[in-house]
C-alpha cells in the first residue's frame, strides 16, 4: 500500500531524483565545525516560526506595542516561552553565524570555487545583524528606544547623505510611530525575504560545489 503511494508520488514529484541529488551525496570527511551553517539555518527557521506566532498578538504602534508584549509575556499561554525563544534565538543566531563565518575563514573555504558562497554569506551576516537591530526596537521600551535613537544617529553620521539616511530610517527627524512601523515592516517582511532568498542561493551553491574538505598539508 505505502509502496504504491510512494511510487505514485515519486512519478509526479521525482522523489528518487531528489533523494539522489540532495541527500545521497558524497561529502569529505565530516567535522563538527561544519554543522554551524545548518545550525544557522535551523535558527533562521525557528526565528521565523516563533516570530510568526508573536505577530498574532504584537501590535506595532507606540500606544500598544509595549502593552502587547506585556500581554504576550503574562496573558498568553506559553507566550513567555515563544518570546523567550525568539529573544535568545536572535542572540544565538548572531553568535552562530559569526562563528560559522570564522570557521569558513580559518579553513579558507571561501577560495575557488566557493567565492560567491562567501560573498553571499557576507550579505547574510549583514542581514542577520539588521534583523537584530530592527527587532530590538519593537518592544518599544526605554532600552530599545534609546538604543535605536543612538543607532540611527550613528547611521546618520555618514558625510553628505547622513541626514537622508537618518530620516529614511526614522521616517522623520525623530523616532516616532513611523519609525516603529518601518522597523516592523523591515523586521518581518523585507529583511527575512532577503535572507530567505540569499539563503536559497547559498544552499544551492553549497550543494553545487559540495562541502569543502578540511585543509591538510596538501592544500
Amino acid at each position: 500500500m505505502w509502496k504504491k503511494v510512494y511510487e505514485w508520488l515519486d512519478e509526479r514529484l521525482g522523489l528518487n531524483d531528489l533523494y539522489k541529488n540532495l541527500l545521497d551525496r558524497p561529502e569529505p570527511k565530516g567535522n563538527w565545525w561544519n554543522t554551524l551553517g545548518s545550525a544557522a539555518l535551523f535558527l533562521f527557521i525557528l526565528q521565523g516560526v516563533t516570530g510568526i506566532f508573536l505577530t498574532v498578538y504584537y501590535t506595532p504602534s507606540p500606544d500598544h506595542a509595549y502593552d502587547s508584549i506585556n500581554y504576550i509575556m503574562n496573558g498568553v499561554a506559553f507566550g513567555w516561552l515563544i518570546r523567550g525563544i525568539h529573544h535568545w534565538g536572535a542572540t544565538l543566531m548572531v553568535v552562530v553565524v559569526f562563528i560559522h563565518m570564522l570557521r569558513v575563514f580559518v579553513t579558507a573555504s571561501f577560495k575557488y570555487p566557493r567565492e560567491l558562497t562567501w560573498l553571499i554569506g557576507i550579505g547574510l551576516f549583514l542581514l542577520t545583524l539588521g534583523m537584530g537591530f530592527t527587532g530590538y526596537l519593537l518592544p518599544w521600551n526605554q532600552q530599545s528606544y534609546w538604543a535605536t535613537t543612538v543607532g540611527t544617529q550613528i547611521a546618520g553620521s555618514v558625510p553628505f547623505i547622513g541626514d537622508f539616511i537618518l530620516k529614511a530610517l526614522r521616517g522623520g527627524p525623530d523616532l516616532s510611530a513611523l519609525t516603529l512601523q518601518r522597523f516592523f515592516s523591515a523586521h518581518i517582511w523585507m529583511l527575512p525575504a532577503a535572507l530567505a532568498g540569499l539563503i536559497g542561493v547559498h544552499l544551492y551553491l553549497i550543494i553545487k560545489h559540495g562541502e569543502s574538505n578540511f585543509p591538510s598539508k596538501e592544500d
Partner: protein, 476 residues
C-alpha cells in the same frame, strides 16, 4: 587563477570525496544533533533566564543611558575610545562609517584579496593571525563596554588604558604582522604566531586590569511591574504617594482641604463615572502627565517637569480603572501586608516596609522636606530625624511617630501655640489596621525580621487567638 591550478584543486577535492562520507545520513546526523542541542539550550534560556522586563518608552527621560544589543557593544566601545583621540576624535564619521565600512569591504573581498590557492593553515599565517587579533579585540571591547572612559572624579586613566588595550596593541600587532610578511620576508611562522599571541595576552590582561581597577558601576535595578496585580499595586503606591493630598485616599474628594493655595477648591471626584467614563486611558495619562496647572493640579510627567515616568503613570491609570471603574473587574489583590492575629507582632521586613513604602516614603527620603527623618531603611527609621530621640522609642506610645500617625500633632515645647510636627501623613489619614500595625511594632520593640517578630509574639501560632479582636481578624 589558471586552469591548471583549478584542475588540481578539483582533482584533490575528488580524492577527498572518495574517502569521505555520505551527506545522508552521516552529515545530517551531526547537523540534527547540534540543532537539537541548540533548541534545548533555547528552551532552558527562555525558561530560566527569560527576558528582562524594561520600563516603557519615555522620550522625555534623557537621562536614560542607551545600551544597544550586546553584539553591537564592541562598536559602541570602539566609538567611545576613538572619540578621546585629540582632533581626529572629532571627525566622527571616520569611526562610524569609514573604519567599519573598510573592515566589511575587506572581509567581503577576501576571496579576491587572498588569491593564493593554498588553504592549509601553515600557509595562511598572516590572515589567520590578523583575524585572531581582531576577534580577541572584539571580544575584549565587548567585555569592557560598560566601563566608562572617564571616572567620576574626572580621571582619564580608564579611557587611556582602554585605548591601549582595545586599539593600540591590536593595531601595532597587525602592523607588525604585515611588516613581517611583506617587508622582512624571512620571518618565521613561529615569530608571527608569537606576535599574535602576545598581543592577545596583553589585550586580555589589560582588559582584566581595567575591569579590576574600575569596576563597572552597578546598573540601578528598576523593578518593572508586568503582571496586572503588580501594576495595580504599583499604581496604588504611586497614587497614595502623589495624589491623596488633593484627591483623598479613594478619589472621593470634591473640595480640597489643607493644601496651600487650593484651600476650598471644588474639583470633580476622580473616582466617579463622570470622570472615568469620559476620559479614556490616554486622556487620563495625559491629565496626570500635564496636570491641570491652571486649575491647580501640578504636572507629574517627566516631560513636564514632574517625577513620574510613562510606566508609572500607566500604572496609576490601571490602578484607577481596576479600583473605581465598574466596567473593570479587579483581579484578587494581595493585601498590603498579611493581616495580624491577636498578640502577633509585626516585623519590619514583612509588614512595616510595605506600609512605609505606600504611605510615607514619598516624602521621607533624602532631598525632601521631612525634618531629616528618612524612612528608606530599617536603620534610618530608628536613627534619623531632627527629633530622633523622641521619634521612635521602643515600648513608648508617646513616640512622636505613633502620635502623629494617629492624627495628634506634636506641639512645640517652647511655644505650645505652634506645632512642631504636623499629623502624618500631612494630608489624609491612615487606615486603622495600618495604625494598629505600626503601634504594635513600636510597642514590641521594632523587630526587624519575621523571625525576631515571631519570638516577641504572645501567641505561638498567629491564627490561635484571633477570636474577639476585631482589628485583627485575619482574612481567610
Amino acid at each position: 587563477m589558471d586552469n591548471e591550478t583549478k584542475q588540481k584543486i578539483n582533482k584533490r577535492y575528488e580524492r577527498e570525496l572518495n574517502r569521505g562520507e555520505r551527506f545522508w545520513p552521516d552529515s545530517i546526523f551531526k547537523d540534527l544533533i547540534v540543532s537539537l542541542g541548540i533548541f534545548v539550550l533555547l528552551i532552558v534560556l527562555a525558561t530560566f533566564i527569560g527576558v528582562d522586563a524594561q520600563p516603557k518608552v519615555d522620550p522625555s527621560d534623557t537621562t536614560y543611558i542607551p545600551r544597544p544589543e550586546w553584539y553591537f557593544l564592541f562598536l559602541f566601545k570602539f566609538l567611545a575610545i576613538y572619540g578621546q583621540i585629540p582632533l581626529l576624535g572629532k571627525i566622527e564619521w571616520l569611526a562610524t562609517v569609514v573604519v567599519p565600512g573598510i573592515a566589511i569591504l575587506i572581509l567581503a573581498l577576501m576571496p579576491f584579496i587572498d588569491r593564493s590557492p593554498f588553504r592549509y593553515y601553515g600557509k595562511r599565517v598572516l590572515p589567520i593571525s590578523v583575524m585572531a587579533v581582531i576577534v580577541v579585540d572584539i571580544v575584549m571591547l565587548t567585555i569592557m563596554a560598560d566601563v566608562p572612559t572617564v571616572t567620576e572624579n574626572g580621571s582619564m586613566l580608564p579611557g587611556i588604558l582602554q585605548a591601549i588595550a582595545g586599539m593600540v596593541i591590536p593595531l601595532v600587532a597587525i602592523i607588525l604582522l604585515f611588516l613581517m610578511t611583506f617587508v622582512f620576508r624571512r620571518t618565521s611562522t613561529k615569530t608571527m604566531i608569537w606576535t599574535a599571541a602576545i598581543s592577545a595576552v596583553l589585550t586580555i590582561g589589560l582588559t582584566g586590569s581595567v575591569l579590576a581597577l574600575f569596576p563597572v558601576p552597578a546598573a540601578q535595578k528598576t523593578t518593572v511591574a508586568t503582571t496586572l496585580v503588580d501594576q495595580i499595586t504599583a499604581g496604588q503606591d504611586l497614587y497614595s504617594a502623589n495624589c491623596t493630598q488633593c484627591h483623598g485616599d479613594d478619589g472621593k474628594v470634591t473640595k480640597i482641604e489643607g493644601v496651600k493655595g487650593l484651600e476650598g477648591k471644588l474639583i470633580p471626584a476622580i473616582h466617579s463615572t463622570d470622570v472615568l467614563y469620559t476620559l479614556d486611558d490616554a486622556a487620563l495619562a495625559q491629565v496626570i502627565a500635564y496636570g491641570r496647572p491652571e486649575a491647580g493640579m501640578t504636572p507629574f510627567g517627566k516631560t513636564y517637569g514632574g517625577q513620574l515616568s510613562a510606566s508609572d503613570i500607566d500604572n496609576i491609570v490601571i490602578f484607577m480603572r481596576y479600583t473605581w471603574d465598574d466596567r473593570f473587574e479587579a483581579p484578587k489583590l494581595k493585601p498590603l501586608f498579611p493581616p495580624l492575629a491577636a498578640g502577633e507582632v509585626p516585623s519590619y521586613a514583612v509588614h512595616i516596609q510595605p506600609i512605609v513604602k505606600r504611605y510615607c516614603l514619598s516624602c521621607h527620603v533624602a532631598g525632601k522636606e521631612n525634618n531629616n527623618f528618612l524612612m528608606d531603611s530599617y536603620d534610618n527609621i530608628l536613627h534619623t530625624g531632627d527629633h530622633k530621640a523622641n521619634d521612635v522609642i521602643a515600648g513608648d506610645a508617646n513616640s512622636y511617630l505613633l502620635q502623629v500617625i494617629q492624627g495628634h500633632p506634636i506641639p512645640d515645647p517652647k511655644d505650645p501655640t505652634k506645632t512642631l510636627i504636623r499629623a502624618m501623613p500631612p494630608n489624609g489619614h491612615l487606615p486603622p489596621n495600618v495604625i494598629d500595625a505600626l503601634m504594635r511594632w513600636i510597642m514590641a520593640g521594632m523587630p526587624q525580621t519575621a523571625a525576631d517578630a515571631a519570638k516577641l509574639s504572645v501567641t505561638p501560632t498567629p491564627a490561635a487567638g484571633s477570636a474577639g479582636t476585631p482589628s485583627a481578624t485575619p482574612t481567610p
